[in-house]
């Protein structure tokens, strides 16, 4: 190391101007060891002074300087030291510490006479001016004296005038802040140690310390040294307020930043990928269809659009503390607009949101234009028929095989016939009046739900399952649900719609043409139209009485349909085929009664109660401003179903899990009773197994018979023998 040889020479040349023993040199050299604590301003003060030349702010003389050095000499020395500090190659271990330490030492000598105001003003100035430059010099590399150098700032012992002799056991500075950093005897005794051998153990110690700090940590390539460098750089660059109190957070942030460098401007953050994809899809919603004149498009758009004013109903529902947030509502609006563009839609409404386990469903209630019949339905039916047909011949084959094997034994055919399937309602009638589209998030594709069959509704009433969020997930339940989650979802939507879609009394009225009640089997009218003369019911009245609200969807009968159909009435073809059997069956089975439900447009006051509790709860949305409030009706039977009305407007919404409220715990359906056994006939006759006594009696009788038979044989043999003998 060439530097140490140079530097000491430089250091030691200058103090020759001082009178005094060589002790000073040792003292100078011992400064880093002693780790002179010094306030930043003081040191900078001296540096500043040094850089400015003879400072104006050093009034005192080195009166107490034991060696009696003159002030200008001291100053010059200090100056030169500072310049050396500035110019000296930073690779040197002692240099920055030493002269500054010496200066601080010198300054400490004078500090008793230093008035506090002397420093406060200058301190602030130099903090701003000098500190930055000083530290910038020191930034590139830090080494242990640097660390110890900086550690001098954290506890200042300005008042402490005692210099501690550097008789230490280790060359490292002691760093408990409580102890006096350096003590100086009153007489100014300076510890003296020979100059030449001393640097070496210190050098070695310094290098050891640095090597230790440069060790890379176990989990990463980062060493404590580099980390501290980064941390301090960060602090100095950012200059936060009160850095000590947020030291831990700065530490953690620095660590984090080391591993998450934002250098890559070309690559996207892989973690955020799904978020970006969704954002892209939703961005597509916001872009209007391109091409064409802008003006023309605006005019077209200003015309009546099928998409309802979602924002308005969202506003009303928000008054009622219900609904999704406003930006989500707007996205739903855009998604509905997209749906309307893709499908031939006549009327459209946002039905609500059904929550699921892994994702939720946004449901849109839609009516197609006249004549736009769905083709998917027919495909579905064909598939079902094919499935049914495939089963029958299979059963026939089995019987055929058995016939071949055992001609005599024919497996008796089961006489159980599945209950007749209740036919599905036609589209646009009853439960299938509207078509429903679902999507999981606005921006994704809308999927159409199939029509609901009565069997599905009947089964859905018996089970209680959460929706998973995937339409093709199976619904595993008992009784087994005939369909997958899409069918179950559709069935629940049908039930909810039938039970909770309400409107203020008078909004809808029956059409003028009324069908004969007799022809429809007493099902009542099933069509209504808007009342053009509806004037709105005052909100207070809507809240007070439930009779002001009516259902405008048909009630679903226990059969699963809205209009009753006698399942035993078969079509003529089937009757001819199964005439004989059917006649018997009809006579045996009970007569099916016609099911009647409440007619359309019945008021809510007629709804059945749940456990002495009204099935509906009405509220005024805001009691503080009743003039502008909205009447809100909440269903207790289907938690999550809401209806609001204000003036001439009303709306329904459902947001919830899609289950009915039941005060009692859910009881799963019991398995069916064991089927009756085969009818006894000449071919099949059951006999009970003989009991133990009977068996024993039989065996005793057999043994007796056997014994008797043997005896007879013996008798015969004896007779024969006798005969022979004779």
């Amino acid at each position: 190391m060439g530097d140490p040889s140079e530097a000491p020479s430089r250091q030691y040349t200058n103090p020759r101007s001082f009178q005094g023993p060589d002790g000073r040199r040792s003292q100078e050299s011992s400064q880093p060891q002693a780790a002179v604590p010094e306030e930043v301003p003081q040191m900078l003060l001296s540096q500043q002074r040094g850089s400015q030349g003879p400072p104006s702010g050093l009034p005192q003389t080195n009166l107490r300087w034991s060696q009696g050095a003159s002030l200008p000499e001291n100053e010059n020395w200090q100056t030169s030291q500072i310049f050396q500090a500035a110019e000296a190659p930073m690779g040197h271990s002692e240099h920055p510490g030493f002269p500054l330490g010496f200066q601080t030492h010198a300054y400490m000598e004078d500090s008793r006479t230093l008035a506090s105001e002397h420093t406060t003003n200058l301190m602030l100035q130099q903090l701003q001016q000098g500190q930055g430059s000083l530290f910038q010099q020191l930034e590139p590399t830090y080494h242990s004296p640097g660390a110890s150098f900086l550690s001098q700032f954290d506890s200042s012992q300005r008042e402490d005038q005692h210099f501690r002799p550097s008789t230490q056991h280790s060359p490292y500075p002691r760093d408990d802040p409580g102890s006096p950093r350096f003590s100086f005897s009153e007489q100014g005794f300076l510890y003296y140690s020979p100059e030449v051998p001393e640097p070496q153990p210190r050098d070695l110690a310094v290098q050891n310390a640095k090597a230790y700090l440069l060790q890379t940590s176990v989990g990463s390539d980062l060493s404590l040294y580099e980390h501290l460098v980064n941390l301090l750089t960060k602090i100095l660059n950012q200059r936060p307020e009160d850095p000590l109190s947020i030291l831990e957070s700065l530490n953690r942030t620095t660590q984090w930043e080391w591993f998450h460098r934002k250098l890559d401007t070309l690559r996207d953050d892989p973690e955020m990928q799904p978020a970006y994809e969704m954002a892209e899809k939703q961005k597509a919603l916001f872009i209007q269809g391109g091409g064409g004149d802008r003006e023309q498009e605006m005019e077209e758009e200003m015309m009546e659009t099928v998409v309802p004013n979602i924002m308005e109903s969202a506003f009303h529902l928000e008054q009622a503390s219900v609904g999704l947030s406003s930006d989500e509502s707007f996205r739903i609006y855009l998604a509905l607009k997209q749906l309307v563009q893709q499908q031939p839609v006549h009327t459209c409404r946002f039905w609500g949101k059904i929550l699921g386990l892994r994702s939720s469903y946004l449901v849109a209630e839609v009516e197609f234009r006249e004549g736009e019949e769905e083709e998917e339905e027919e495909e579905g039916e064909e598939l079902l028929l094919e499935g049914a047909e495939a089963l029958e011949p299979h059963g026939g084959e089995e019987e055929g095989e058995e016939d071949e094997e055992k001609v005599v034994d024919v497996v008796p055919k089961p006489q159980w016939k599945p209950p007749p399937v209740v036919p599905k309602e036609e589209s646009r009638t009853g439960a299938n009046k509207y078509l429903y589209f679902v999507c999981t998030e606005p921006g994704r594709q809308w999927t159409r739900l199939p029509h609901v069959t009565p069997a599905q509704i009947v089964c859905a009433r018996k089970i209680r399952k959460f929706f998973t969020g995937h339409l093709d997930a199976p619904v595993i339940s008992y009784p087994p649900f005939p369909g997958n989650e899409a069918n179950y979802l559709r069935a629940q939507i049908a039930r909810i719609s039938a039970a909770t879609h309400i409107s203020p009394l008078g909004f809808y009225q029956f059409g003028e043409e009324e069908g004969d009640e007799e022809d429809e089997g007493g099902a009542g009218r099933d069509s209504f139209e808007e009342n053009p003369d509806f004037e709105g019911i005052p909100v207070l009245e809507l809240v007070d009485s439930l009779a002001n609200w009516v259902h405008h969807t048909q009630h679903i009968l226990p059969q699963g349909r809205c209009t009753w159909v006698n399942p035993l009435q078969k079509t003529e073809e089937e009757e001819e085929e199964l005439r004989e059997e059917e006649e018997k069956a009809d006579q045996v089975l009970e007569e099916v009664e016609q099911e009647i439900g409440p007619p359309l447009l019945t008021p809510l006051s007629e709804d059945a109660e749940i456990m002495n509790m009204s099935p509906w709860t009405t509220r005024l949305s805001c009691s503080l401003c009743p003039q502008y409030s909205v009447a809100v009706v909440r269903s207790n039977l289907w938690p999550g179903a809401y209806a609001y009305a204000s003036g001439k407007k009303f709306g329904n919404l459902y947001i919830g899990w899609g289950h009915k409220y039941s005060p009692d715990n859910f009881n799963p359906a019991l398995p069916a009773t064991v089927q009756q056994e085969y009818a006894s006939g000449p071919e099949i006759m059951e006999m009970g197994d003989p009991t133990v006594e009977e068996e024993q009696a039989l065996r005793a009788a057999q043994e007796q018979a056997l014994a008797a038979a043997e005896k007879e044989e013996e008798d015969e043999e004896e007779e024969e023998d006798e005969d022979l003998e004779d």
């Binding site: 942030t253 954002a279 999704l324 989500e328 456990m611 909440r634 947001i655």
Partner: protein
């Protein structure tokens, strides 16, 4: 949800469909400030809303400096005047088990149920339970069962008290979908049962609470991403109406309960 970030939290939790109307929001913002001042709480949480037949209860909770200390619960019917509820005790919890059905909305409403006395030959005793008591125990049950925070939001000091972690930067997206990144916001119950191997990996200042992984029944939490994959929402299936939201990589998190206050006992059938 924190009363300080009430508006943002309500927006984020709105995915479940139930929130607050503007007038209630305004009332809450002002009244919760006053509650914080009057009761000298360190943090005030808006806990949620319990729907009753006649009226709804709005519930708030106040926390002291130690986040795990027992919380004070307040209720209000109009979001302006708040009343302190008594702390929950075990006896009240056992009494509550007999009461079923919806909340009425009237704090002085009394539920009656008959208790069968085996020993005495007298008539069955009719026990009356006030709705306020029921409210207390339901809130306590919900808190113990489903109140959650993300991992890292609280940290424990060596002396014991638990503080809010000011340097919590949010869960990373890879962790946000796992149940193990969320802890129950209550005194830990199952930590002692962990094996030494498991405990060795834990950070004692952050992992001092039960995680959601071992909740019974399994699958009683539904984790979803909403708002285009930028928001994690956890909904409890055991107490339907409880929603927890968190924006990954940010400090926003909170929970709210808006529901009827009834446990979903049919959960095992529904999964």
């Amino acid at each position: 949800m924190d009363a300080e970030s009430l508006l943002l939290s309500l927006e984020l939790a709105a995915g479940s469909g139930l929130g607050l109307s503007p007038d209630r929001r305004a009332a809450l913002l002002t009244s919760l400030q006053l509650v914080k001042r009057d009761y000298r709480y360190d943090r005030v949480l808006f806990w949620g809303r319990i729907l009753g037949i006649v009226a709804d209860y709005y519930i708030a909770q106040g926390l002291s400096e130690d986040q795990l200390a027992p919380r004070k619960t307040l209720y209000s019917l109009n979001c302006i005047e708040w009343s302190l509820l008594p702390p929950a005790t075990e006896e009240r919890a056992t009494q509550m088990a007999m009461v079923k059905g919806r909340f009425m909305g009237d704090p002085s409403h009394e539920y009656e149920h008959t208790e069968f006395q085996k020993m005495t030959a007298e008539d069955d005793v009719v026990v009356q339970v006030k709705e306020e008591t029921r409210l207390v125990s339901v809130i306590d049950q919900i808190d113990k069962a489903v109140a959650i925070i993300p991992r890292g939001a609280l940290f424990k000091t060596p002396f014991g008290p638990v503080h809010v972690n000011r340097t919590f930067e949010g869960l990373p997206l890879s962790e946000a979908r796992k149940l193990s990144s969320y802890f129950h916001f209550r005194e830990p119950v199952g930590l002692k049962n962990k094996t030494l191997l498991e405990k060795a990996d834990l950070d004692p200042s952050l992992d001092f609470l039960d995680s959601l992984e071992h909740d019974i029944p399994k699958g009683s939490w539904s984790i979803q991403m909403e708002r285009g994959n930028s928001l994690v929402v956890l909904r409890s299936l055991l107490w339907p109406g409880f929603t927890f939201f968190h924006t990954p990589r940010t400090r926003n998190h909170g929970y709210i309960y808006v529901g009827t206050g009834e446990k979903n006992m049919d959960l095992p059938f529904m999964l």
